[in-house]
């Protein structure tokens, strides 16, 4: 079984001519690089969100230890 080469549809906006072309190896490589970058960004976003949530929980715990009520903590943090 062979893998078909992906194609792109190209329209010349000045002439209206349309072509369906196979992606070049450079374009296929770029596609793979963008996929890797997108996955790295997704992981970084998740890690940043997780770190923020952990910091928030830690901050709330410390405020609780200082004797603040849940209402007072909510008023301060907006949570």
């Amino acid at each position: 079984m062979t893998n078909a080469i992906p194609t792109k549809i190209v329209i010349n906006c000045s002439t209206g001519v349309r072509e369906v072309l196979e992606l070049t190896q450079a374009e296929i490589d770029e596609r793979e690089a963008m996929a890797i970058q997108a996955e790295a960004d997704r992981v970084a976003d998740e890690e940043a969100a997780e770190a923020k949530a952990e910091a928030k929980a830690s901050g709330v715990a410390k405020l609780t230890e200082l004797g603040l009520t849940a209402e007072e903590i909510s008023a301060i943090t907006g949570a």
Binding site: K8, N12, C13, V20, R31, M34
Partner: protein, 172 residues
């Protein structure tokens, strides 16, 4: 606003859609996309936007809603979102991209509004402020996927917007 060209994906799908040789006759560009992809996993799939076919000098900040949650972030990309094969059958995502002053010799701004469709809790909406920090005028716009294809019946229409005689008022 004047339609420049419309591309409708045919049978078999396409990995990319390219508007090439965009005329330098307008003030702003607007690109409207209705798209579904063959991607699986999440109910949406990202669309890379490549001005003049290049990835360099792009950046974005976005706010997103995911049905039951929110997200925000930034990166060195310009991205829109389509419904994927994991969304409800025959649903398509909608994208509106505004590019003011696309002929400018300084950075070009991209306003990108994406909404996917899915008859479930998880659908995605994203508002993106993008920048292509390049001195070249935009002469082509390429929409690519990291994997898979735009499915048949996906469409993209590129519009040109003219300024009025006073240079600021947009006219039809």
């Amino acid at each position: 606003m004047q339609a420049i060209e419309t591309v409708t994906v045919g049978s078999g799908g396409q990995a990319s859609i390219v508007f090439d040789v965009i005329p330098a006759d307008y003030t702003d560009l607007k690109l409207l996309v209705s798209a579904r992809t063959t991607g699986t996993g999440q109910a949406w799939q990202l669309i890379n936007i490549l001005p003049n076919g290049v990835t360099a000098n792009r950046s974005q900040r976005y706010l997103a809603g995911l049905g039951s949650g929110t997200d925000n972030g930034a990166g060195n990309e310009l991205q829109a979102w389509a419904s994927s094969a994991s969304s409800t059958t025959n649903t398509f995502g909608s994208v509106a991209i505004n590019i003011p002053n696309y002929l400018s010799s300084v950075a070009k701004f991209f306003s990108i509004d994406s909404v996917t469709e899915n008859n479930a809790t998880a659908a995605l909406q994203v508002l993106t402020a993008g920048l292509w920090n390049d001195t070249s005028a935009i002469t082509s716009l390429e929409l690519t996927l990291n994997s898979g294809n735009f499915v048949e019946h996906s469409t993209a229409t590129l519009y040109g917007i003219l300024a009025g005689s006073d240079g600021t008022t947009t006219v039809t």
